[in-house]
Symmetry: C2
Subunit: 505 residues, 2 copies
């Protein structure tokens, strides 16, 4: 255990075994935990809390907590607590398979909130008091300030608001992270808000460390455990084709003078397609790009190294084990070009609008008119959540939504007559991209959008069905502005639920 990480004497005296820290959490508590996309979550206390909860339940005692985080965490946090039936209410985002199953069984109350809204909601007090913050840090300075770890998320807010604070000091996190964070302490509730004076993605407007009232710290726990680092898989042909259409489009926009040569700050969702876009950029002629995004993935490190990316701002890392090793070995060379911020700043509507972010997010399905569903399978079953996609899409300069044109081996079309849930309305979706092509919907009335989406984005086997629906809707709809036949607008989804395929038998 690298005890050199805790350099403040008063807080060093509060070091206890993790089970002792977990014992300080009471049934009914609301917990604000660190963690964003599997980075920087507490590694020890949650699992021991889950064990306490299981024991309590076995003894017939009720024990649940409400759980707030930055975003998704890891099996040892969301997974363990969900498996123990320990979560009453969960917000603002999660992606754990066990938690997802319990949410869709109606056993966990899940509030799916824009990530930039969480701090504001908590500060307003509407969500009720925050009892305990459980926050991972990578170290504590002599004067008791906290060196953040691999994500910042909502940690500033949790530390400020919580009645009691448990710190996990994780010596697995590279010491070289220190200096990479920019914690902005200038936020306030209205009417006391001031302009956030950030005009370039790499600007630093805050301080490198988090503050905590030492009197609130009830326990410090030492850990040395890795983040949830998912191995990176090479993009498949579909993802590569999606990336190709997007990059060709960006090149074209530059050539006609609608975007500058170094583009505008990129926001990129997480996952296979996003990774393919990053790989594609690596092979493109673009250079000196910037990113203003949530998460730094493997591909971004390569882009920074090659100079394709000049600098990047995010709130968390999400690296593979290979990339982590590389990052740890070369942290000094990245430090000046990476800024990690609280998620209320990384996703701030004011900044996203000002910088003119090019927002690139995945989705589950889009419809003929450009409405996008990012969260629900067949209208009712939540997959993960909206995350930051709304923060970026709504205030972006151009908002792209990317997806393979089909799922489940072709049984599901990602382009449907009407989406079964709307997370991004027709007003907020600029461009839809699948492996078949790209549809720029801006400035088009709904009927012209429909033709473009069918022709450019739908899978060939679904195109005649969409064309048929659209043609009949144009003749039979109650109005021809956005032609729909409501009795069959959602029939593709019900057919899938009944037969296992959206294609008619």
């Amino acid at each position: 255990m690298d005890t050199g990480r805790i350099r403040n004497a008063a807080l060093a005296r509060k070091v206890v075994p993790a089970d002792q820290a977990a014992a300080l959490i009471r049934p009914g508590d609301t917990l604000g935990m660190s963690g964003f996309t599997g980075a920087g979550h507490p590694k020890a206390v949650p699992e021991l809390l889950a064990q306490r909860i299981t024991a309590a339940h076995a003894a017939g005692e009720p024990f649940q907590v409400d759980l707030w985080t930055g975003a998704s965490t890891a099996p040892e946090l969301d997974g363990a607590l969900a498996a123990a039936d320990g979560i009453g209410l969960r917000l603002p985002y999660q992606s754990d398979p066990i938690a997802r199953q319990k949410i869709n069984a109606g056993e966990i109350d899940y509030v799916d909130v824009h990530l930039s809204h969480v701090a504001q909601l908590a500060w307003e007090g509407f969500l009720g008091p925050l009892d305990v913050a459980v926050v991972e840090v990578s170290g504590i300075t002599e004067d008791g300030q906290l060196i953040p770890s691999s994500s910042v998320g909502n940690n500033k807010t949790w530390l400020d608001l919580a009645e009691r604070v448990v710190l996990e000091v994780n010596s697995w996190q590279p010491a070289g992270l220190d200096g990479m964070h920019d914690v902005y302490y200038g936020t306030a509730l209205p009417p006391n808000r001031r302009p956030v004076q950030l005009t370039r993605p790499g600007d630093r407007i805050g301080v490198p460390h988090l503050r905590v009232d030492p009197d609130k710290v009830v326990a410090v726990v030492e850990t040395s455990a890795p983040d949830r680092n998912t191995p990176f898989s090479e993009p498949d042909d579909t993802a590569r084709a999606i990336a190709g259409h997007l990059i060709e489009y960006l090149e074209h926009q530059v050539s006609v003078g609608r975007l500058p040569a170094e583009l505008l700050p990129l926001q990129s969702g997480v996952g296979n397609v996003a990774n393919a876009v990053l790989s594609g950029l690596q092979e493109s002629r673009f250079e000196q790009l910037t990113a203003y995004t949530e998460v730094i993935q493997d591909g971004m490190l390569d882009l920074l190294r090659s100079g394709t990316l000049a600098s990047t701002s995010a709130t968390a890392f999400s690296l593979s084990p290979t990339a982590i090793a590389d990052f740890n070995a070369h942290v000094a060379e990245f430090r000046d070009r990476i800024v990690l911020r609280p998620q209320e700043i990384s996703n701030h509507p004011e900044i996203v609008r000002r910088l003119g972010v090019l927002a690139m997010n995945g989705m589950i399905e889009a419809d003929l008119y450009g409405n996008v569903n990012s969260t629900h399978l067949m209208g009712s079953r939540i997959q993960n959540g909206i995350g930051g996609s709304g923060d970026f899409a709504r205030n972006a300069y151009v908002s792209f939504f990317l997806t393979p044109s089909t799922a489940k081996g072709g049984a599901i079309s990602s382009i449907v007559p009407m989406v079964s849930h709307v997370d991004h309305t027709e007003h907020d979706v600029s461009v839809i991209v699948t492996e078949h092509g790209l549809a720029d919907l801006r400035g088009l009335p709904p009927r012209k959008r429909a033709r473009l989406v069918i022709d450019n984005c739908a899978a060939p086997e679904y195109r005649p069905l969409l064309t048929d629906y659209y043609a009949r809707a144009e003749r039979g709809a109650h109005g021809r502005h956005t032609p729909h036949l409501l009795a069959e607008a959602l029939s593709w989804h019900t057919r899938y639920l009944e037969t296992g395929s959206m294609l008619p038998g």
Copy 2:
């Protein structure tokens, strides 16, 4: 005719009869016209243009224009051009009955855009070049600057971007308007955007007059005609009840410390319910409130006079004939407390978020889970458009959506299982209010929202039907996060289209 309104010699020499100005507009031109909510639109040229178009069509010649404005205009603009089949594409908003009919017949291409996005889209060049600006002003200064009239809208953008400019100088507009406007010339396309340094609704950050390159002015037309001033009707019991619930809620939020005593800046949509809210505030104990909104209605003048409202910011007036007479007689006493801005500033995401606006907008329908439809009747037929409601709701501190619980004498329920079109997603809707009560949906998972919406907001005759749908959905849905039965989620709408009522026979 008050020729004293044109005090610049060079521009005075360009005065021509209106038909001569209309003759400068060519088939296929894209026109940027002034006008916002029936205020400040050109009064003479559009109707004469419509006559030219009608004559051309009678002679078998094609003649259409694309029409961009601030928002809605008046019968002599949208109505006349639509009746003449003179509009190819229309954006970003309209509310004219003739234009609406042609849009829903598929004869006019209508692009329904967030009002704060229009200037950005036009500047980016994606919408193509702007050929002619036709802008009403209330006067021209000695040095050729333009004194805006009763709306600012997108006029700055049209004047800057258009190749040719036609000015209508309307002496009906009160001379006392001069000094009330604040035209901000600091906007830019990214990456050159800077923070908009506005921190209070009444701040002035620009200049009082619009600029125009005199060489681009091809005609100046003198008019003396009123805005589309709709008489004010007293709120009915339903509107009064909605306002009552809202104001009681605001008082409660103040009492529990979630809002300051003088609230936060109010944004208020246009119409009967909005007027009732303003009347209700007049009778409340609130004082020294502020407004950061789009449109100044009758009720706001009363609030300013009584001191309930300290100051207000908007982009346009929408006053009744009585209120206009009052305003004209007392313009000096209002001048320091009213600021009229370009709509890209009145609706700016950055400012709406910073000020923490309380956004209050009407709607067509909401569903069990808090998704809101503001634009489409039965999914396909557009009513008006999203206007600024998305600009405000998405970045507001609290976003309220208000509506009577039924329409068409009870044949339509405003609370439905699933909305037939989504303009504001569950993530952006805080509070729903009908005459029956109020549902604060923040921090609630979908299933708890459903119970609250049914119990508090739905009309009594629809409550058992909603409860029945919800109960069956909870049992039978593909997932219990957001329980829906997709085969009947839109059946209320299809029933209405088939039988004339959402109630089963």
